[in-house]
């Protein structure tokens, strides 16, 4: 009898090379499935099991997952974009033009990067409000909410620093408007602005600084906090579900006790 695709895949997972790479081993028992999460350096951030009720669309609207999705798309499109881009004025603008008209699929890459960035900002806000209205910031999840606020600021900074990189009129004046706000900080406003722009006006120094922030510092910092954010979900008892909270369960148990006594 011919082998099915599943059997070929099982054979592959049984080979010595595969077994040397993945620590969880083969098999589809509950234990092996749990190990494939727990024994994986990336997936071990998540818990091995999730409450079934949290998988329904209404529980979370999948907003956190989708935000991660936009982040992955942004990394995947951002790296090829870096290959065609020099962070110097006015070469940056010429490179952006080349991406539009010369580079194969350059226009598509830039479009996808830009719309995903807008989408990510929107999704982060939506995720925050959804979490708030579900009351999912409650103990012991307080600090994960704070990390979420940090990630919101990181997202805004990522989007804002990326906004300057095309070096067109839209970019230049949006950043000028924004950096003027920084100079309104009492006492040290102009110093902050100087530090941010590497000068007193938006010019080539500012472009280089924003490029380094946008492509190196901010993504790495964001990934660091995203890892803590995911890990804390597991450590804090999984996704918040009001009906599954110990306090709710106790209250329900107490009220069912009372009704049971009244019935007697």
């Amino acid at each position: 009898m011919a082998k099915t695709v599943d059997q070929y895949f099982d054979d592959l997972r049984g080979t010595r090379v595969w077994r040397s790479i993945f620590r969880s081993g083969t098999g589809s028992s509950t234990l092996k499935r749990a190990l494939s999460i727990q024994q994986n350096v990336f997936l071990h951030l998540f818990s091995t099991k999730v409450r079934t009720r949290m998988l329904g669309f209404n529980a979370t609207w999948y907003l956190g997952t989708l935000t991660l999705g936009t982040f992955l798309i942004l990394v995947a499109t951002g790296i090829p974009l870096m290959l065609y881009y020099h962070p110097s004025a006015p070469q940056a603008y010429a490179d952006t033009k080349d991406l539009q008209f010369v580079v194969s699929s350059g226009l598509f890459l830039r479009n996808l990067h830009r719309w995903s960035a807008h989408c990510m900002v929107f999704l982060v806000f939506a995720h925050m409000f959804k979490v708030f209205y579900r009351g999912a910031y409650r103990t012991p999840r307080e600090f994960n909410w704070v990390i979420g606020v940090i990630l919101l600021l990181m997202t805004l900074l990522l989007s804002y620093t990326g906004y300057l990189l095309p070096w067109d009129q839209l970019a230049y004046w949006a950043i000028t408007v924004g950096s003027n706000i920084a100079s309104a900080v009492p006492l040290m406003g102009n110093k902050i602005r100087f530090l941010m722009l590497g000068g007193n006006a938006v010019d080539a120094n500012a472009l280089l600084r924003f490029y380094v922030l946008h492509c190196m510092i901010l993504p790495l910092t964001a990934m660091f906090f995203v890892a803590i954010h995911f890990w804390r979900i597991r450590k804090d008892g999984g996704l918040y579900s009001h009906a599954s909270e110990p306090a709710t369960l106790r209250a329900n148990a107490a009220s069912s006790d009372i009704t049971a006594k009244e019935a007697q």
């Binding site: 999460i37 099991k49 997952t65 033009k97 996808l112 600021l153 804002y160 000028t176 100079s183 938006v202």
Partner: protein, 235 residues
């Protein structure tokens, strides 16, 4: 195909190998029976599969958008030529709209700083955790504080002529007054819902409302010199 199981189930009666737990119930304690029957599902593969499908659908939508709509690209950056209006990215247009009314130190530093502070401290306030209806307890006193707060805020916004922020504030105040007139015995389901909303809900919803309104005004209704234009007038 599933692997053949490498173990057999059986009943082990050896008390040394499988000890049992016995609970002693004294007069002062009572057994707490934890009925934890909630269904759980394996992360691998069920949850990861769903997450992958969700991300795939998002990616398809974004690819489609990227194929149809081009990202904007204007002329080369020119410090000597200021476009009118010079707009920030859309998510900062709420802030830029506020800059139109207030001095930069208020709209650009104080307000965003306070918003971030407020967001951070949300989970550390008892009133947010307990989540009781705002007007269910101590109604008269809370109504007086509510009138005072809304009155002060309205006068402040009127003084700076911030009608864009005043209108959402008054709409929210009306909803809160309706909540104050409602209770869990109200006939309409909407009123019962409003009556149970805590203070944090009202503050956050007001913030969301202002955020949406100010961002929309900054994006669609502001033209040269930050003057009011209708979207169909062009800029």
């Amino acid at each position: 195909m599933a692997d053949p199981k490498d173990f057999t189930a059986g009943i082990d009666s050896n008390a040394k190998k499988s000890p049992r737990r016995i609970v002693f119930i004294t007069r002062r304690t009572s057994a707490q029976v934890k009925a934890d029957t909630e269904n759980q599902i394996q992360t691998f593969p069920e949850v990861l599969f769903r997450a992958a499908v969700a991300i795939q659908m998002l990616a398809i939508a974004l690819v489609w958008i990227a194929l149809v709509f081009n990202a904007p690209l204007e002329g080369l950056a020119d410090p000597s030529h200021t476009p009118n209006p010079a707009k920030a990215p859309w998510y900062f247009l709420g802030l830029q709209e506020m800059l139109h009314y207030f001095p930069p130190v208020v709209a650009g530093v104080l307000v965003p700083g306070l918003v971030v502070m407020a967001l951070i401290v949300i989970p550390y306030f008892r009133v947010n955790i307990e989540a009781e209806g705002l007007f269910l307890k101590d109604r008269q006193r809370r109504l007086r504080i509510f009138y005072l707060a809304v009155g002060a805020l309205s006068v402040f916004l009127l003084f700076f002529k911030v009608y864009a922020a005043l209108v959402p504030t008054l709409i929210m105040a009306a909803a809160m007054l309706l909540a104050a007139q409602s209770s869990s015995q109200s006939s309409s389901a909407f009123q019962r819902y409003l009556a149970g909303r805590p203070l944090s809900y009202w503050v956050m919803t007001w913030f969301l409302f202002e955020l949406v309104v100010l961002t929309a005004i900054g994006t669609f209704f502001r033209g040269p010199g930050w003057a009011w234009v209708w979207p169909w007038q062009g800029s």
